[in-house]
Symmetry: D2
Subunit: 337 residues, 4 copies
C-alpha cells in the first residue's frame, strides 16, 4: 500500500504515520517528491488495515497496490477450479445449462417444468423455495414444501437442484434437500449468510450484487472460501443502470475479466441479466462466446401463470432454440455443449 501525505503535512505527522506502520509489523519506505511525500508500506503478508492509516492527520489518501482477495485470486491459485455436482462439472470443457422456474409454485408445475428441462438438455434444475421479494405483499415462496418438491423433481429427472438460501439458520434445512446453495444478488453482502454458507459442505452459486464491482463480488467469494468452503461458482446476473427498457444490464465484460482475476467458474444468468424474454437467447449466445462456463435460465411451461418473473421466462419451444444456439456457440469457441 502507498500512503500519500498532504502537501502541507508536518514532519511529526509523517513520523506518526511511520510509527503506525511499524507498530503493525510492516516497514515504511519514504519517498519525497517535489510536491508530495509518499510512504510505501512493505507488508508482512497479512492484509493491512487501510482505514487506520487513512484517518491519520497529514494523510491525503492511500492507494492499495495488491488486490484485497487472496483465496479467490488467480494470482495465488493459477489453475482453474471446477465444481462438480451430481456428476456435472461446471468450469470444465462443457457449457452447463441450468434451467427451471423462478419460484417453485406447485408440485405439478414444477415436475412438468423439470421434465421439460431434462428433455431439452438442461443439466441442472433451478427453482426458488424462499423468495426475496421487494414487496411484503408478493408471493414469498413455498418454503420447506418447495424444497420437498425440488427433491422429488431431482429424483424423477436425475438433475441436481440449485436453490436460494436467504437466512443463515436455514442452511441445514436447505442443504438437506438441495445440491447447490444459491446466494442471491441482494444477499451478496449479507455477511452472516456468507459465513454460514462458508461453513456448509455444499457447492455455492454466488450471484453478483446488483450494484457490485468485481472486487466486491470476489471479496464476497473470499468470505465463503475463507470459512472453508471451496466449491464456489460466481454468477453474473446483470447490474442496475439508468436503462429503463431492460430490467438489468448484463455485464459481458465481467465474464472474461473474472476468468482473468479468479480461478472460480463463471455462470451467466441471461434471464435476470436482461429481464426480457426476447433478449435471453441473443445474450446467452454472447455469454458463451465470451467464455462463460454455464448459464442459468428461467424456464416455465406456462409463463402467463407464473407467480414471479414470468416475463423473462422462456417457454419450452424458446428454450429448445436457446439450447441449439448455445450449442453452436460452444462449438465455435472450442467447448462442448
Amino acid at each position: 500500500m502507498i500512503v500519500i501525505m498532504k502537501a502541507g503535512a508536518t514532519p511529526t505527522q509523517l513520523t506518526n504515520v511511520i510509527a503506525q506502520i511499524e507498530s503493525d509489523g510492516c516497514q515504511a519506505h519514504v519517498s519525497r517528491g517535489e510536491e508530495r511525500t509518499l510512504v510505501g508500506i512493505i507488508g508482512n503478508g497479512r492484509p493491512f488495515d487501510r482505514e487506520r492509516i487513512e484517518q491519520m492527520d497529514g494523510v491525503e489518501k492511500t492507494m492499495p497496490v495488491l488486490r484485497p482477495f487472496k483465496r479467490a485470486s488467480r494470482e495465488f491459485h493459477p489453475e482453474d477450479t471446477s465444481v462438480t455436482v451430481g456428476g456435472i462439472t461446471v468450469g470444465g470443457p462443457d457449457v452447463v445449462v441450468m434451467a427451471g422456474p423462478c419460484a417453485v409454485e406447485s408440485r405439478e408445475r414444477m415436475l412438468e417444468i423439470a421434465h421439460e428441462a431434462k428433455d431439452l438438455g438442461a443439466k441442472m434444475l433451478r427453482g426458488g423455495a424462499y423468495k426475496p421479494r421487494t414487496s411484503p405483499y408478493s408471493f414469498q415462496g413455498l418454503g420447506e414444501e418447495g424444497l420437498e418438491i425440488l427433491a422429488e423433481a431431482r429424483e424423477q429427472t436425475g438433475l441436481p437442484v440449485v436453490t436460494e438460501i436467504i437466512q443463515p439458520e436455514l442452511v441445514p434445512l436447505v442443504t438437506s434437500y438441495a445440491d447447490v446453495l444459491q446466494v442471491g444478488a441482494r444477499n451478496m453482502q449479507n455477511f452472516a449468510l456468507l459465513h454460514a454458507v462458508g461453513k456448509a459442505q455444499c457447492p455455492v452459486l454466488l450471484k453478483r450484487g446488483m450494484m457490485s464491482t468485481m472486487e466486491e463480488l470476489l471479496m464476497a467469494a473470499e468470505y465463503i472460501l475463507s470459512h472453508g468452503n471451496t466449491q464456489v461458482m460466481l454468477c453474473e446476473r446483470g447490474i442496475r443502470t439508468l436503462e429503463t427498457y431492460t430490467r438489468n444490464t448484463l455485464d459481458i465484460n465481467a465474464v472474461p475479466l473474472l476468468k482473468h482475476l479468479t480461478h472460480l467458474p463463471v455462470v451467466v444468468d441471461p434471464s435476470h441479466g436482461t429481464g426480457k424474454r426476447e433478449l435471453v437467447e441473443p445474450v446467452s449466445r454472447a455469454a458463451v462466446a465470451a467464455g462463460a462456463d454455464g448459464l442459468i435460465v428461467e424456464l416455465h411451461t406456462r409463463p402467463d401463470e407464473a407467480l414471479s418473473d414470468g416475463g423473462q421466462s422462456l417457454r419450452p419451444a424458446e428454450f429448445r432454440e436457446l439450447m441449439e444456439s448455445v450449442s453452436r456457440m460452444a462449438v465455435a469457441v472450442g467447448r462442448n455443449a
Copy 2:
C-alpha cells in the same frame, strides 16, 4: 394500473388480458387509441401483481398508477409519526443528534466516548457490536460483549443505545440490550431480517441501501410496518455514485422528498453520507436546513486508533462545533436543538 398493449396485439390477446384481470377480482377498462390499446385496471383494494400481466402475450408494458407502499405512505396516514426512545422523541420539534463510534472497540474507549457524547449534547448513543465488513479479514465487532459495553454506557450516561442487527436470530439478544435496532444499508433488502425486526417490540432505524431508490426504502419500511412494528425511523446515509473524492454522496433531496411521501421520521447520517471528516459539519447543517428530524454522527476520542471508519469520525472538539452549527440551523428553521 394501466396495461399498454403492443401495436400489433390481437383481439384474443386483449381478451386474455381482460380475463386475467377479472379473474383477479378487478375490473378492466379498455381504451382504444390510434396506435395502442390501453386497459385500465380498477382494483379491489388489494395490491395487484404487475408481473402476472406484464408477461402476457400482446402486452407491451404496464404502468402503476398508485405507489406500492401503503402503511408507510403519508397519503394513507397524513399525520407525522414520531418515535420516542427513553424519553427522546425523533420526529417532533427537536432535532435529535445520535453519536458514538462506528464500532464498539473496548469498554474503556466506549465509555470515554459515551461520556463525551453526553457532555456535548448528544441525545442517543450509537456503536456497532456486530459489524458487516466487506473483507473477511477486517474487525467484525465484539458481538455480545459489545452489547454489554453499550448497556453499561447507557447506564452511566442515560443515553438510549442504537446498534446494528445483522441476522434474524440475533433479534432477541440485541433487543435485550439495545433501545433501537439499526438495519444497515447492506441489509435494507435482507427480507428475512426485515421480517424479524418487524416482529420485534423495539424501534428501528432503517438505513437506505447504497443504491436504493426512495420507493425501495419505503417498501423496506413497509415490510417492517406490515409485520406489526410501527416504530420505524428512516435514515438517509448517502448513495453510491461515480464520485471518487467522497465515499458516498449524501442525497439531500431525500429529506424533503421523504417528508412528503411518508409520515415516518427522517434521520441523516453525514458521516457515512460523505466519508470525509471535513465534510461532516457542512453537510449536517444542510441536512437540518432541509428538514431532517435527527442526525447520526460518528464520534471518536481517538480516531487514529479506530478499528473502522476513523477517517470520517469527528473528534470531540469537532463534534462540539457541529452541535453549535446544528443548533443555529435548527433555530433558523424553527426547531429546537
Copy 3:
C-alpha cells in the same frame, strides 16, 4: 399519454387539464378510479409536450404511452436500414470490421497501420484528427493535417475513412476528406452538432453517450434523421458504471434491444467498451454473437508509443486473432465475416 391527477385534485384542476389538452388539438379521455382520476390523451399525430401538462396544478405525473422517437423506430419503419460506404455495407449480411488508431499521430504511423488493417481484413479505417480529451494538456489531434493523412491512407488502401467531428462548423471540412462522420460519446447530446451532421450528405456513426439510455441514443439519432440525413449507424461503446477494473462496461443487451427498437445498423466498439486489450477479443466475439452488424476496433502497430488509448489498442498479431474469432462467430450466427 396518460395524465394521473393527484389524490386531492379539484374539479377545476381537472377541467384545466382537459382544456389544455384540447387547446393542443387533442382529445381528453377521463377515467375515474377509486383513488385517482386519470386522463388519457388521444393525440393528433404530432408529438405532445409532456412537460406542459406535468406542471399543471393537480397533476401528479404523466406517463408516455408511445415512444418519443419516430423516424428511428422500427415500428414505423419495419425493414432494416443499411448504410453503404465505398462499396461496404453495414447492416447487411456481412459483419464489418473498422480498425485503426485512436488518433492520427503521424503520416508514417497512420499509413503503416492502414496497411496492416487492410492486410488483416478490416473493411474501413478509423482514426481521429480532432480528439476530445478530458485534459487541456493532452494531445488534441493533428486537425486538418490529420484529415489529409487519412485521405492518403484511403487512397493507398482503398478503405473508407471514419473520423470524429467535434464542432458544427467543421462539418464541411471534415466531409471533404472523410467517408463517415463519427459523433463521439461526449457529443451525443451536443444538439448543435447533431443538427449540423443531420444537414450533411455523409453517413454518420453515432456513438452512445457514456451514461445514455437507449431512448436518449435513439432521440439523438432522431435529431440527425429529422434534419434529413438518413444514413445513421448506431454504436454501442460501453457505459460508465461503478466498476474500477475496466474503463467502461460494454452493454451487450443494447445490441439485440436496438435491433428490436430501431431499423438502423448497430456497431460495437469493444476497445472503448472495455478499455483493456485483453478483453477486446472475447467481448468482440460476444458482440457478434449477440447480433452486431459491425465492430470498430483500435489497432496500433506500436501501442507503447501511442499518444492516446494505447492500452486498449490491439497489436497486429492480436488483431489477426480477433479477425479469426469474429469470422467463426459470424458463421455460427449465420452471417458473413
Copy 4:
C-alpha cells in the same frame, strides 16, 4: 505518478518503463516489494501522460499522486476567487440569487418575470435563448431574438443577464448581449465550446455534467482557465441517479468539497437539482447552509404555460418565500443575503 508493475514483469519490461519515463524528462524511482515492483515518477513540472505508461508491457496500472488540475486548484491558488458582474460579486460575503425562466418565451413574459425577479430580490437574471432539448420536436429557443429580449430586460431592471451558449461560433453574438455565459450540463465536456468560452472576455457559469465527477468538472474549468478566462463560476445542478421520484439528485457534498478543492465560486441550481417545485425551497436552504455562494433558480409568472421546465419553476409567491428562507440561512452561516 506511481507505476505498479505486474507480478510477473520481466527486467526488460521494467527497463523499458524507466527509459520511457526518462525520455519524457522525468526521473524514475524504483521500489521492489515482496510481490510487486513499483516505479515512482518524479516529474518535471509538466503534466505527465499516464496512458503512455499504462499501455506498456509489464505494467499493471498507474496511480496518480497529484490531481490533474492546477489552475483550478486551491492548492496552487489558496485564496478565494470571486467573480463580479455588473457590480454583483459571486464568491464574496453575499449569497447571490439568480432567477428567471428556463427559456425566454416571449418579450412580454420575460419582462414580466424580470420585474418580479428584481422586486423580490434576485441579483441576476437567467433565461435561455438557445435551448438544448433532448427531442428535436421540442421548443429550441428564440435564438437572437431571445438575446435581444434579455438585453431589454436588463435595461429595464438593471439585473445582469446569464444565458446559455451551445455552440462555439455563437460566442461573439451571445457575449454582445449577455453578461455571463452559461455552459450547460450536456456541454460540460464539449471541449470545442470550452475552448471558445476560454478565449472570451466574459464570466462563465460552468454547470456540472449530469454524470460528472468533481475531477471532471474541475478539468472542464481548467480548460477555460488555461485558455485565459479566469472568471469561472462552478454550478452544481444535480446528478443523475437511479431515483425516479426526482429528475436529478442534488449533490450537496459537492458544495463543501468544491470549496475545499478549488478557489472558484460555487453556485447551486436547486431547480434542475430536484426537478420538483416543492423541493426547491428546502434544498435551497440546504445549499446555503452547506456554503454555496449563490443560487440559480427558475422563476415563472405562469408556469402552467411555460414551454419548458414549468414543473420545477417557482411562482412569485413561492420565490418570495425562498428568498426569505435563503436570507435566514445566510445569516445563520454568517453571510449576507
